[in-house]
């Protein structure tokens, strides 16, 4: 009570003091306009304590001035509009100044409150984000939220697990899941940086707020609602969102590390398998071919037998190679993609098959000014080799085989066609299945490998029949770098 009255006392005392000062100064040295000193007093009162004391001060000042200095001195007479104007000026100064000062004070108070809010939020946020793990950070968020007035619970859940705060009941978990799946908040919303609970019939409500990778469940008393607390609550929900995101990122990178490790493992297993399977075949072939040399002194029929066995060993080697390649492709081993000239790749494959192509009539229609393709040279070479090998098998001696390419709709379209019997229409799709073959001695892997390589490059491959025989068509991506021409 005394504290509230003190400003008024100061106002009255101040008016008296200023009156005394004017009286003293006036006695020594008569100066007109000393009454302006009252103005100073009123200004000070208004900025310091606001409207009430300022008005009190101005009225007191006016009365005192009137009584002591305005003739007839010693009376409270008001004569003429000039004196009334003086009173009005004093009152106006008091009112306007106190108003201005009050709003300035309010603005400052708001700013200070905001600063305090953000300071405490900053401390909280850095603490949470620096927490050793996301779970610790989330429970810090939950604890801070539950300290806010009116908030009785702040739980965070993700993927059916309560990560912080009181555990959710199965029913609540279903609600939370629904909210997460539909992306819709229940019972409350965050708007303009404030937590806004929806009015319900009771006082307390349980709200579900869906986040990017989880749901926050908040039990809050709707009657309570200081703006700063609502802002804080909204900020805490934001923090929980951040932390959940961090948790998801951590989980994902862990999973990626796992994949990477298993990829490395697969590659290691495949290359050691390749070594283990190929070494015995290598010894077999070296021995068989050595014995099949005329100088080895074998009988002709024995040599023939050796050569037969070597052919079988070669076939086995081929099969092992294709199986390993297929598993490598299935394992998703990376492609070494670079711009390449498709003509170069075709040249490499045809050179490799020179022997087998000797009695076939090969036509190459690959323009030299084709743009480069962005591919793994070796794998695509494998596609061409496999398709040409397939064509050789289905072409009668001296039949024609054509290898061609052209650009079409922003990709390279290549084809390999041969003279020969058509592929039965029912088999056109099955030819690319692994282990499916129309040949007695085929592995059924060559075309399957071709399809996987083309798929891995984002291209398409298909088999079709022309009038003179089958044709395989596949597409490859063009390089973005201009061609080396």
């Amino acid at each position: 009570m005394t504290r509230r009255l003190a400003p008024y006392a100061v106002a009255l005392g101040g008016a008296v003091a200023v009156t005394a000062a004017i009286g003293l100064v006036g006695a020594v040295l008569p100066v007109s306009g000393l009454s302006a000193l009252y103005l100073l007093l009123v200004l000070w009162l208004a900025t310091r304590w606001g409207r009430g004391p300022a008005v009190t001060g101005s009225v007191a000042a006016f009365l005192l001035y009137d009584f002591y200095f305005v003739p007839p001195v010693g009376t409270f007479t008001v004569r003429g509009p000039a004196e009334l104007l003086e009173l009005a000026v004093l009152l106006a100064v008091a009112l306007v100044t106190s108003q201005l000062a009050a709003s300035a004070r309010r603005a400052r108070a708001t700013a200070e409150a905001l600063a305090a809010d953000s300071r405490s939020l900053y401390v909280l946020a850095t603490g949470m984000l620096r927490a050793p793990d996301v779970a610790a950070g989330l429970s810090m968020v939950s604890t801070s939220a539950e300290q806010l007035p009116g908030v009785s619970r702040f739980s965070v859940t993700s993927g059916g697990v309560t990560l912080a705060g009181p555990a959710l009941t199965p029913d609540e978990m279903r609600q939370a899941q629904w909210s997460f799946d539909s992306g819709k908040a229940i019972g409350a919303a965050i708007k303009d940086g404030l937590f806004r609970a929806m009015r319900t019939h009771g006082h307390a409500t349980t709200a579900y707020l869906p986040l990017a990778s989880g749901v926050v469940v908040i039990a809050v008393d709707t009657a309570v609602g200081e703006v700063s607390d609502l802002r804080m609550l909204a900020a805490l929900v934001g923090l929980a969102d951040l932390l959940l995101d961090r948790r998801r990122a951590a989980l994902e990178s862990e999973r990626a590390r796992g994949f990477e490790a298993s990829d490395r493992m697969k590659t290691a297993i495949l290359s050691s398998l390749s070594h283990e399977l190929k070494s015995p075949i290598a010894s077999l072939r070296a021995g068989l071919t050595a014995l099949a040399t005329p100088r080895a002194g074998m009988h002709p029929e024995q040599r023939e037998l050796m050569e037969d066995m070597d052919r079988q060993a070669t076939r086995l080697d081929h099969m092992v190679g294709e199986l390993l390649l297929l598993s490598r492709l299935e394992a998703g081993v990376d492609l070494a993609r670079e711009p390449h000239s498709f003509a170069d790749i075709v040249g490499g494959s045809l050179r490799q098959l020179r022997g087998a192509l000797r009695d076939r009539d090969v036509v190459v229609r690959v323009p030299t000014d084709l743009p480069d393709v962005e591919v793994d040279e070796l794998q695509v070479g494998r596609v061409v080799t496999n398709l040409v090998e397939n064509a050789i098998d289905w072409t009668p001696p001296h039949g024609g085989i054509e290898v061609g390419a052209a650009t079409r709709d922003g990709v390279l379209e290549a084809w390999i066609e041969n003279d020969g019997d058509a592929i039965p229409p029912a088999d056109l799709d099955r030819v690319f299945d692994a282990f499916w073959t129309r040949r007695a001695h085929g592995t059924g892997l060559g075309l399957a490998i071709a399809k996987r390589v083309v798929d891995a490059h984002g291209g398409v491959i298909r088999a079709e029949n022309r009038r003179r025989g089958p044709r395989f068509v596949f597409t490859l991506p063009l390089a973005t770098v201009p061609a080396a021409q």
Binding site: S271, S274, H275, K278, S279, I281, A282, S283, L284, R285, A286, G287, T289, A290, L291, A292, T293, P294, R295, A296, D310, A313, T314, D317, G321, E338, P339, H340, S341, A343, D344, I345, V346, G347, G348, L350, R351, V364, V366, T368, E377, L378, G381, V403, V481, A484, Q485
Partner: protein
């Protein structure tokens, strides 16, 4: 494997000696002076690549690397480390003998002072820096000529992109396969060579280029 190869090669009139590890190989190469060394990369003890590097100062013999790993990275590494050729296991005796004969021929082919190298109707006159196809002069830029000359000096041997870059552009060349590809495309164009069916400069997928001997 070693026994089978020794038998197979001796039937083709080669004088063969075998050793079981890299250290012995280096010693034997210096003492016995063979013409060709077959080096299996999967050696016990001293690693295959180490052996390859150790062999180079010890011998002028052609080194053919034998490996069960079909990876082109190993191929490139072996060729860059000084191997003359690379054979992937399994292979038949005939194939191996053909490769050995090829490196032996190349060895005999590069006598110092031989001024003209021929590959089919391609002729490279090293002394006068002239290139011609079928007697028709072909004008190459200095870079194109250097690249073709290097391939010609190692005709029949696959030359890696790295080696070409270093030999043609210099020790500290900054660049990648794109450079060599570009220059080879230019050379082929000028020689009238078809990349899909090259007669002179042959693409070694994943490795580099080779001039058809």
């Amino acid at each position: 494997m070693q026994r089978a190869l020794r038998a197979g090669l001796s039937y083709h009139d080669f004088d063969v000696r075998t050793v079981g590890n890299g250290e012995d190989a280096v010693r034997e190469a210096a003492a016995w002076r063979p013409d060709v060394i077959l080096l299996d990369l999967g050696l016990p003890g001293m690693d295959g690549f180490e052996t390859l590097r150790a062999l180079r100062p010890a011998t002028r013999a052609a080194v053919i690397v034998v490996s069960v790993m079909p990876g082109e990275k190993d191929k490139v590494r072996a060729l860059d480390a000084g191997a003359d050729d690379y054979v992937v296991k399994p292979f038949g005796t005939d194939e191996l003998v053909a490769r050995i004969r090829a490196v032996l021929r190349r060895q005999g082919d590069v006598p110092a002072g031989e001024p003209v190298i021929r590959a089919g109707d391609l002729e490279i006159d090293l002394a006068r820096r002239l290139v011609s196809v079928n007697g028709q002069a072909v004008h190459l830029t200095p870079t194109e000529y250097e690249l073709l000359r290097y391939l010609a000096l190692h005709a029949g041997k696959p030359v890696t992109h790295t080696t070409l870059l270093r030999q043609v552009w210099g020790e500290y060349a900054v660049g990648d396969k794109y450079n060599t590809r570009y220059v080879v495309a230019q050379i082929r164009k000028k020689l009238g060579d078809d990349p899909a069916n090259p007669r002179y400069v042959v693409n070694e997928p994943g490795v580099g280029y080779r001039l058809e001997a």
